[in-house]
């Protein structure tokens, strides 16, 4: 058990280390001199150039820059923005930090509940028209990118019917479409897996026993089958977070929402690499932590796995 934990934590640390090195490289080895870009038409002002270079630590040897970068990160300091000279990255992304988690978490809750529900309905009615219809929708949801579905939904609900706003952020109405679009892929993924796992547990002996002793069908599905199906579902919850991160980034770009994903992409176009890399680090840290927690929870929940790894 402790050996498993140690190995799991070691791979988490390795992942973060790779992310830190990759983002450092991306920040430092970009084409062009960021200081010249920042100076703009004041490029002849050598004093200002020297001061900016010192502020950004660009006058230091490379290994010292790296040490400065890492110690900064440990203090929660993501560096300074290129696009807004002298402004800390943390300030640039502050607004995004208030938006993206809302979209991500709402989409997570929506996909967990709706995904489980749809998957359970399909499994209980396996082979029926309802099952076939649901699985057809699921395959479409899995194979068509979110922004294609979004294009159709925006056209239908916002342009044709005028029910929902086309873009923006701030009102509850503006949040509905982005959250749904971000959740479509994860809902489909989760529904398909719930169906598979539930069909497996529904065929087990203990389910037959429960039915034989007269437990109502609803109780059999909810308490006997679904409960045991949650263990494998828990492992994919971590993988699903990757889809939700992607979904959030895409959705913010569709609906022009100034969240982390939108800022990350516009900052690449504006060559503001410290901002993009700061966001990349945040996403990586978040994704790694979730997966670490899921793996630990997985061992704690299922006694068979606990025995197997110890």
């Amino acid at each position: 058990m402790s050996q498993y934990l140690a190995r799991r934590i070691a791979s988490f640390v390795a992942m973060i280390a790779v992310a830190v090195i990759a983002t450092f490289i991306a920040n430092r080895f970009v084409p062009g001199d960021p200081v010249l870009v920042m100076l703009g038409d004041q490029s002849s002002n050598l004093d200002l150039a020297a001061r900016l270079r010192a502020d950004y630590g660009l006058d230091l040897p490379l290994h010292e820059q790296f040490v400065r970068y890492v110690t900064g990160l440990l203090r929660g300091d993501l560096g300074l923005s290129f696009r807004f000279p002298g402004v800390p990255v943390g300030e640039v992304i502050a607004d995004g930090l208030r938006i993206s988690p809302v979209i991500g978490l709402a989409a997570l809750v929506l996909s967990l509940t709706l995904g489980t529900l749809l998957g359970a309905i399909a499994a209980v009615r396996a082979g029926s028209l309802v099952d076939t219809g649901l699985m057809f929708v699921v395959v479409i949801g899995l194979s068509v990118p979110g922004f294609v579905v979004a294009t159709g939904l925006v056209w239908l609900l916002s342009v044709r019917l005028g029910w929902l706003p086309v873009a923006g952020w701030g009102t509850p109405q503006q949040a509905i479409l982005p959250i749904i679009v971000a959740a479509i892929g994860p809902i489909a993924y989760f529904a398909r897996l719930t169906r598979t796992f539930l069909l497996e547990t529904l065929g087990q002996d203990y389910v037959r026993t429960a039915r034989a002793k007269g437990v109502p069908e609803r109780g059999v599905v909810l308490h006997h089958a679904l409960r045991n199906a949650t263990v494998p579902l828990l492992t994919v919850a971590g993988i699903m977070m990757g889809g939700l991160i992607t979904g959030t980034i895409v959705v913010e770009n569709i609906f022009n929402i100034q969240g982390l994903g939108r800022i990350a992409v516009t900052s690449i176009a504006a060559r503001d690499y410290p901002v993009t890399m700061g966001i990349v680090l945040l996403f990586t840290l978040f994704y790694g932590t979730i997966n670490l927690l899921v793996d630990i929870a997985y061992v704690l929940v299922d006694p068979r796995i606990r025995l197997a790894v110890s």
Binding site: S11, A14, M15, V18, A19, A22, T23, I25, A26, F29, V30, P31, V139, I140, S143, V144, P145, F147, V148, T151, G152, V154, W155, V159, V166, T196, M241, G242, G243, I245, T246, I249, V250, N253, I254, A264, V265, I268, A269, Y273, T276, M277, V280, F283, T284, Y287, G288, N291
Partner: protein, 258 residues
């Protein structure tokens, strides 16, 4: 579906009724008519022509990525499976580490380092894609190397390299073909996502993802471009996925997992 898409992509320049780069401001956001069958985009380029050439761009990227991924994945997978020991440990560790990152995050880092464009897309998607192939090849190598025909070849004194090339690889082809076709739809989807975000294919080269992005602001009045590109993209991805499923059932009856 797949044959249709591939034919369109190969003959795109010949099929396209107009140049995909020629602008005509009189045709800006023009309605579909006899000249521009699907209308014009913001700078008056023929949407139909751009859609057709977009198929070529998408498929070219998809097949480039597939080739790179197959070569790198097969080489590393066989080394890991055959050699074992530290090489196996290193390669398995590298796969796990790559898979620990969300794909889009890897793509953003690559796009930042290389600058957005076709090369960045190919590198980003290859970086993610080789892991799947390497895993399959590794497990296939592990199971195949214990087969009687491999032992016979070893006993006959065949060099390991020759065993791998002439005995192992031919036996992997069906599984790899199935895996590769299933991967095409996924690669096209990822490329479209990157281009949609502006991290992928750049103007003036047409790409479905980019056309959807450019079409979104005009959805209210001129939905043609976003709709046409969305339909083409959905048709292609679903087509390749169905093709992959069919191929899996035909070539690999045991592989009906999930």
């Amino acid at each position: 579906m797949v044959v249709f898409i591939v034919l369109v992509a190969v003959f795109a320049h010949w099929l396209a009724p107009h140049s995909y780069t020629r602008t005509d401001l009189f045709m800006s956001w023009s309605l579909p008519d006899a000249r521009y069958l699907l209308g014009g985009d913001a700078v008056g380029r023929d949407i139909l022509s751009r859609l057709l050439v977009g198929a070529q761009v998408s498929l070219t990227i998809a097949f480039s990525v597939l080739t790179i991924v197959l070569i790198v994945g097969t080489v590393l997978g066989t080394i890991a499976g055959w050699h074992g020991g530290w090489a196996d440990g290193l390669i398995t560790r590298a796969t796990d580490l790559t898979l620990a990152f969300p794909e889009l995050i890897i793509a953003i880092i690559v796009a930042a380092i290389m600058g957005p464009g076709v090369p960045a897309v190919i590198v980003a998607l290859s970086l993610v894609g080789w892991t799947g192939i390497a895993r399959i090849v590794r497990s296939l190598t592990l199971s195949l190397r214990n087969e009687a025909f491999v032992e016979a070849a070893m006993a006959a004194g065949t060099r390991p390299a020759a065993i791998i090339v002439f005995h192992l690889l031919p036996n992997m082809v069906p599984a790899l073909v199935v895996r590769a076709t299933a991967g095409i739809g996924f690669i096209i989807m990822e490329e479209a996502t990157l281009s949609f975000l502006g991290l992928g294919v750049q103007e003036p080269q047409p790409t479905w993802g980019g056309m959807i992005r450019d079409g979104l602001p005009a959805l209210r009045t001129e939905p043609w471009m976003a709709m046409a590109a969305s339909a083409a993209l959905a048709f292609t991805i679903v087509g390749f996925n169905l093709f992959g499923d069919g191929l899996r059932d035909a070539l690999d009856p045991r592989g009906a997992r999930r």
